[in-house]
């Protein structure tokens, strides 16, 4: 810990040296700034900044940042323009090597003819470490699950069950320790289960953002490991029809994927716009290099629609999304007892070679998730905005096991979860340096087991309410942004279930205070440092408290513990970002101690029944210490040739008995080179990428696992992306070959490594047409 702190100091002092030495030269000063919306603090992309004295300018980037370099000391006049906003003219006196300022642009009056009303965009405003997937990267990831897509961000991996269920993992945390936001609403499915995939269609996203810090204050309990925001593009505010089609095919599993998106507005009513979006996916049995994995097909059908109106003072948006899927679970993973399990582990793969088919049999999962939201904001004054957001979600989950006779047609787990969320908050933004958010957040949840499964429910029926009060303030001046916030939560959970015809109930109360402190410093124009220290908590989930029963896949009896208390964590995350002309580098390091971390522990005992023997697992609490770092960088060797690298290391120690926790990602590095064939003046993509992923063996294993960690592996991928213009329309063509050499491998983070090798070679053709 001390070494890390020390290294930051060393780093900082070196940088100071750079600044001092640079000061000796003339005309090497820079103006650096950030342009944001006055009313909501959101960054403005593509604002135009002009310095009349030097006849030079800049355009703000996605985060609203701009730099004008190579200036001599002296007086300059800046003119900042953005459509629909009042032009800012500012005279500055450049007296040092670097000048920093944040500009807030005010929207022009709606009465003016021909002025475009901008759509509001809820990018995250945090001093914590944030990474996003958008544009070309997102295009490349189309057709993949949310978890797989996010592997393109350093520090993110997946916790998967076979190839179709992949849960995103942020710095070793997943399931109930991270939060996924579907267009601003916290996604509430049955996320506690290792084999419960996030119920969200990645095609609805225009941008997927990952906040790696503890964000409990902003988003509520459970956001202790981080937050994933799946955000669609803002709704249009005038007539501007845009349609987008995707047609994707993959050789492995013979997967077909079709998606569309249409957005438009109206001439007659300014500020009114809508979006319709849908996708369908079908795939059959996946092929490992030497055999087909039986019953691994899936089908998915998703739809979403949104309509919104925005005027100068009022913004209102209605949104609905439907996610539905049927997932086949590898037939061989359904083991009857421990001896079945030991036999297949010893064999290392299924006993039969299988064959291709689309049909999905038991075991399988059928899941639908519906989300409706109503969101509104009202500008109380120039500086104050009132926000209201209500979300309603229904999650239906049916899990079918291989059973006898009529029972085979009945689900063995049949859950229905209703969630209501309500957020009311105010934002304030002032021309002086303060801005902030104060609000109340309310969650109400009802979970019911649908009777008739013929199985004692794994988790009880329950009712949950959670109320949180929070406030955050941010101070930004020049190169510095400082942020602090606090939150208080109260939670009540009431449960009921029959076990052996006896009614068992519980009434549990939790409350907690959490807070964070963060800062961001522009050290030199190209270098930013941010640091965020956040406390977080997570009350035990119902499955951790009350699980009781047989887990078929793992040949395990899992037992909950109703005495568990809430986990408390502290995450300190630091990021250094360098954005030079040829080099881009991001380095993230974090320390994350957790008190009373809840985990599933193998007792080492077995349970004997007429069906055979089972391992017994119980939920325990221990103090944990997570720490690690991520690195991500790219370098332009020439105008055409670029290299990139990203890697991460995470350590998760049980500090009480000097043991490691299971299913923590092993060290991984991905690197690649890309060559751009397009001419200098041609903006169309024409790029070939070759990449290599290296994953080491997980040597930090717990004392007990039913099978040892698989060896490390290396995979090679090739991708080619080309863009065509067809009159005014755009066609993107992508060809990707994953696992080029058809390598047989197992990943430690895949729970099905006990039963099978991972996916073999997969050739993807991805077409995207925009008109």
């Amino acid at each position: 810990m001390n070494i890390k702190i020390l290294s930051y100091f060393i780093c900082l002092s070196i940088l100071n040296g750079v600044i001092v030495s640079a000061q000796a030269q003339d005309c090497s000063s820079s103006i650096r700034g950030k342009i944001i919306h006055l009313e909501n603090n959101e960054p403005i992309e593509a604002a135009y900044i002009w310095v009349s004295e030097v006849n030079d300018g800049a355009v703000s980037d996605q985060n609203g940042n701009f730099i004008i370099k190579n200036l001599c000391l002296g007086k300059y006049t800046l003119s900042i323009q953005f459509l629909g906003h009042k032009t800012i003219n500012d005279t500055i006196n450049l007296t040092s090597i670097i000048f920093n300022k944040t500009y807030r642009m005010e929207e022009e009056s709606m009465n003016l003819v021909g002025i475009e009303v901008h759509g509001h965009r809820d990018a995250v405003q945090t001093t914590s470490s944030v990474s996003a997937l958008y544009g070309e990267k997102l295009l490349e990831s189309r057709g993949e699950t949310l978890g797989e897509s996010l592997k393109r961000i350093s520090g993110i991996s997946t916790y998967s069950t076979g190839n179709s269920i992949a849960k995103p993992v942020i710095h070793g945390m997943h399931s109930n320790r991270i939060m996924i936001m579907n267009n601003g609403i916290r996604l509430e499915g049955q996320q506690w289960g290792a084999e419960h995939s996030p119920e969200i269609d990645p095609f609805l996203a225009d941008e997927i953002t990952v906040v790696k810090g503890a964000e409990t204050v902003r988003y509520g309990p459970e956001a202790m490991g981080g937050v994933i925001l799946v955000t669609p593009a803002p709704l249009p505010t005038k007539k501007d029809p845009k349609t987008e089609f995707y047609l994707l095919g993959a050789s492995n599993g013979r997967q077909g994927n079709l998606a569309f998106k249409h957005t438009d507005g109206f001439n007659k009513i300014k500020g009114l716009g809508y979006r319709l979006q849908g996708s369908a996916k079908r795939s059959g049995n996946i092929k490992s290099p030497d055999y087909y994995q039986m019953n691994t097909g899936l089908s998915e059908l998703n739809f979403s629609g949104a309509v919104g109106y925005s005027s100068k003072k009022l913004g209102i948006e209605g949104y609905y999304s439907l996610f539905s899927t049927t997932l086949g679970i590898l037939a061989d993973s359904h083991t009857g007892n421990l001896s079945d399990l030991e036999n297949i582990i010893a064999n290392g793969r299924p006993f039969t070679d299988g064959s291709f088919r689309y049909q999905i049999d038991n075991p399988k999962q059928k899941v639908t998730h519906q989300l409706a939201k109503l969101k509104s904001h009202y500008h109380l004054s120039e500086n104050w905005k009132l926000n209201f957001q209500y979300g309603f979600q229904v999650n239906n989950r049916q899990e079918f096991d291989k059973r006898r006779g009529e029972l085979n047609d009945k689900p063995s787990l049949d859950l229905q979860l209703y969630t209501n969320t309500l957020d009311i908050y105010v934002n304030h933004t002032h021309k002086n340096e303060f801005s902030g958010t104060w609000g109340i957040n309310f969650i109400q949840q009802a979970n019911s087991n649908i009777p008739g499964t013929g199985v004692t429910p794994l988790i009880p029926n329950y009712d949950l309410t959670n109320t949180g009060f929070y406030a955050m303030e941010k101070y930004s001046k020049g190169p510095v942004e400082l942020e602090a916030g606090a939150r208080f939560d109260i939670r009540n959970v009431q449960t009921a279930r029959y076990i052996n015809s006896k009614l068992q109930t519980a009434n549990l109360n939790y409350q907690n205070f959490s807070a964070f402190l963060g800062g961001l410093f522009h050290i030199i124009p190209d270098l930013t440092f941010n640091s965020n220290l956040g406390s977080a908590w997570r009350p035990p989930n119902v499955n951790e408290l009350f699980s009781q029963g047989l887990h078929h896949g793992a040949a395990a009896v899992e037992i909950g513990n109703s005495e568990l208390i809430a986990e408390k964590s502290l995450k300190w995350i630091n990021e250094l970002e360098y954005d030079g002309q040829k080099t881009h580098l991001e380095f993230t390091a974090y320390l994350n101690p957790i008190k009373d971390y809840i985990y599933l522990n193998a007792t080492g005992e077995t349970y004997v029944s007429l069906r055979g023997t089972f391992n017994v697992y119980e939920y325990l609490q221990a103090n944990a210490f997570f720490y690690g770092f991520d690195v991500s960088g790219s370098y332009d060797f020439t105008d055409k040739l670029q290299g990139y690298l990203r890697g991460s290391i995470v350590q998760a120690k049980n500090t009480e008995d000097d043991n490691y926790f299971p299913f923590i990602p092993s060290n991984r590095v991905e690197w690649g080179i890309s060559y751009d064939f397009s001419k200098v003046d041609d903006s169309r993509t024409n790029k070939l990428t070759v990449s290599n992923t290296l994953v080491s063996k997980q040597k930090r294993q717990p004392n007990f696992d039913i099978a040892p960690a698989p060896p490390g592996y290396a995979l090679f991928d090739v991708g080619y992306q080309k863009q065509y213009y067809i009159s005014k329309n755009k066609l993107n063509v992508g060809l990707q070959i994953q696992n080029l050499f058809n390598t047989s491998y197992k990943d430690y983070m895949n729970r099905f490594r006990y039963y099978t090798y991972d996916v073999g070679r997969n050739i993807n053709l991805k077409l995207n047409y925009l008109f």
Binding site: G336, R404, G405, Q444, N449, G454, P460, L610, G612
Partner: protein
């Protein structure tokens, strides 16, 4: 479950809210998939297949099904040396009050009993097993057990495994003493070992 939602009353304007306010009252479930009782019924027969004496049976039972802190109660299977017996298997679920034997019989293409353990395996095994199901299928609900006249040992282990969803045409799978039954795929519905004694 009735809850006191103090704060909810604030948001009474939202009709959707109340349609889904509370969870359903729980309903007891009878565990349908569980096998709680397995009975082996023996009937001695002579060379021409006629019954000799009265049938007798041995039982393995686990009242709780798959539940923690319960161990199955298992009888000792006692047979006489040098005899031939018809053996019938019946399985039931006392929790749901259901006979499972007919279901296994109906799904005979998906099920098969294997007879393992020192009672049947090895040159010195004290007993032999043959399938004797109706229609000549390899199922094991009915079979013939022949005890040797001069066993090397008087006690042994009799393991009965019921496989489900395996490949019945896998090479060797038709042998009731097929030790490598896992290679044929599928999973175990039952795996129980009876102590076995041969009396003079």
């Amino acid at each position: 479950m009735k809850n006191k939602f103090h704060l909810l009353s604030l948001f009474a304007l939202l009709p959707l809210f109340f349609s889904s306010c509370n969870s359903e009252d729980p309903v007891p479930e009878n565990d349908g998939e569980v096998i709680t009782d397995l009975t082996l019924t023996f009937q001695e027969i002579d060379i021409s297949g006629n019954s000799v004496g009265e049938p007798f049976s041995f039982k393995a039972s686990d009242a709780e099904g798959i539940e923690l802190n319960a161990t199955p109660e298992v009888d000792i299977v006692e047979l006489q040396r040098g005899k031939t017996y018809q053996m019938k298997i019946s399985v039931s679920n006392s929790i749901a009050g259901e006979e499972i034997t007919p279901e296994i019989s109906t799904e005979s293409d998906k099920h098969q009993f294997y007879f393992l353990g020192s009672a049947f395996l090895g040159i010195d095994a004290p007993a032999k097993y043959q399938y004797n199901d109706e229609g000549g299928i390899n199922l094991g609900l009915e079979g013939i057990v022949i005890t040797v006249p001069n066993p090397k040992a008087n006690t042994a282990q009799l393991q009965i495994v019921l496989r489900h969803n395996h490949n019945k045409s896998y090479p060797g799978a038709s042998d009731p003493n097929f030790e490598k039954y896992v290679n044929a795929g599928g999973s175990s519905d039952l795996d129980i070992t009876f102590p076995f004694a041969i009396n003079p």
